[in-house]
């Protein structure tokens, strides 16, 4: 457990590969990304499903010129204008990965696997140059694992041991990313006491998590309280 967002981000080096959770803004760890912006690391490779929405979170990091490469499945959205501009002017590289491959490559990274054969993408431009194999009559493409130097994870509640639960569809990529980085940093609304989370309901066991920081109740839950 760390005291604040600045402590949570200390030590992130230039040139790091950073896994960032979220599907659009759902589960996107906006406060941690703001902290990374403050912290100043640059020349980052970002692995995330999207390439930023509006002006917050990953979009803000891109706008500040901190990102040299984005690995994602769906960069182009109605509000991805920051990424769009940088990509068109050649200021950021893109590696496009089908969404299920992205999730499974990160899972493999966290699970100590050297990769996997998947039917996804076989015969398409995104499989060009990759090893293929016929297994039990069907064709598969070999995909390699993805690991991060750092993972920024958007949780809901956590405890001091690093156990985390998520909220609704904000879970998305967060649990697989938490497991696949050397330094796994989780923001949660609140840190509860050890034993307060139902062990049956814990989604990310604390063994995967290095730092937990409380950032306060999310806006829409504050309004409802």
């Amino acid at each position: 457990m760390v005291a604040d967002v600045a402590d949570a981000l200390s030590g992130v080096a230039d040139g790091s590969t950073v896994l960032i959770g979220g599907f659009g803004l759902a589960g996107h760890p906006v406060q941690l990304i703001d902290g990374l912006l403050e912290q100043g690391a640059r020349d980052l490779t970002i692995v995330s499903n999207n390439a930023g929405n509006g002006d917050t979170g990953l979009a803000a990091l891109l706008a500040a010129g901190r990102v040299s490469k984005v690995v994602c499945s769906f960069p182009r959205q109605v509000d991805s204008y920051v990424f769009d501009g940088l990509y068109r002017t050649g200021q950021v590289q893109l590696e496009l990965v089908p969404q299920g491959n992205l999730a499974e490559r990160i899972r493999a990274g966290g699970a100590g696997l050297g990769g996997f054969f998947t039917p996804t993408g076989f015969g398409t431009p995104l499989a060009e140059g990759k090893e293929t194999r016929q297994i039990d009559g069907s064709w598969y493409v070999f995909e390699t694992p993805i690991r991060g130097d750092v993972a920024l994870v958007g949780g809901y509640l956590g405890d001091p041991l690093g156990n985390v639960v998520y909220r609704k569809t904000s879970r998305n990529f967060n649990p697989v990313m938490a497991a696949a980085a050397d330094l796994s940093i989780v923001q949660v609304d609140r840190v509860v006491g050890v034993g307060d989370l139902d062990p049956e309901a814990v989604v990310t066991p604390g063994i995967y998590v290095d730092r937990v920081v409380a950032v306060g109740d999310r806006e829409w839950l504050r309004e409802r309280a």
């Binding site: 589960g27 299920g100 999730a103 993408g121 995104l126 697989v176």
Partner: protein, 210 residues
């Protein structure tokens, strides 16, 4: 005469068997959900991690933590479950989903699908879950207009756009007709105020009926 989008969505909904697990792709396939009435026993999956998805919501019912694959605010139904992205796509590739309904730029008579990229070099490519969905569900159905705005057939002998999946589509629902494609053979299943000859002329393909 042909079917409107909403009529076509209703037609697709009627073909989905009760008891099915279904994923509706972003864009017009989401209209199919409007025709899955409460008396139907159909469970919707959204690949960002929810099984038992309910209708889209507006106003105070919006919860930014509860969205569908198109990032539209939705609801959860009683008995819903949440899971992470790797589980969600394992569910898909593992053959647990019965049907997915996808939009398309082009479909070939052999069932090849092109729906992620027009090949335009200036376009920013985005693929999302399309390639995983196309090969993952037990059946992939396509919902699309038969013709482009300039009158070219989207149903073709061979796709000219970059492929999403090879031989993955089994059925194509268009405003003019429903087609079977892929390994089981290409044929017309149903026509909407369009003759077989008109379909042959519009597509340049030698259609026959089942």
């Amino acid at each position: 005469m042909s079917l409107s989008r909403s009529q076509l969505a209703a037609r697709i909904a009627a073909d989905i068997p009760d008891g099915s697990y279904v994923n509706l792709g972003i864009g017009s396939p989401t209209l199919v959900a409007d025709h899955l009435t409460a008396d139907r026993d159909i469970t919707l999956q959204t690949e960002n991690g929810l099984l038992g998805m309910g209708p889209a919501v507006t106003g105070p019912a919006i919860d930014p933590d509860l969205v569908n694959a198109g990032k539209i605010p939705v609801s959860e139904l009683p008995g819903a479950s949440y899971f992470h992205q790797a589980d969600s796509f394992a569910m898909m590739r593992g053959g647990h989903l019965d049907i997915c309904v996808l939009g398309a730029f082009q479909v070939s008579t052999s069932g090849d699908l092109a729906n992620w990229h027009t090949g335009d070099q200036d376009a920013i490519p985005a693929v999302g879950g399309a390639m995983d969905l196309a090969v993952g569900a037990k059946q992939s159905w396509v919902m699309m207009d038969l013709l482009t705005k300039t009158g070219e057939s989207r149903l073709v002998e061979r796709c000219s756009y970059p492929l999403t999946g090879v031989g993955c589509v089994t059925r194509v629902y268009t405003d003019r007709a429903v087609f079977s494609v892929g390994a089981s053979g290409a044929r017309v299943l149903e026509r909407f105020d369009t003759t077989l000859d008109e379909l042959r002329e519009l597509t340049g393909l030698p259609w026959n009926e089942a």
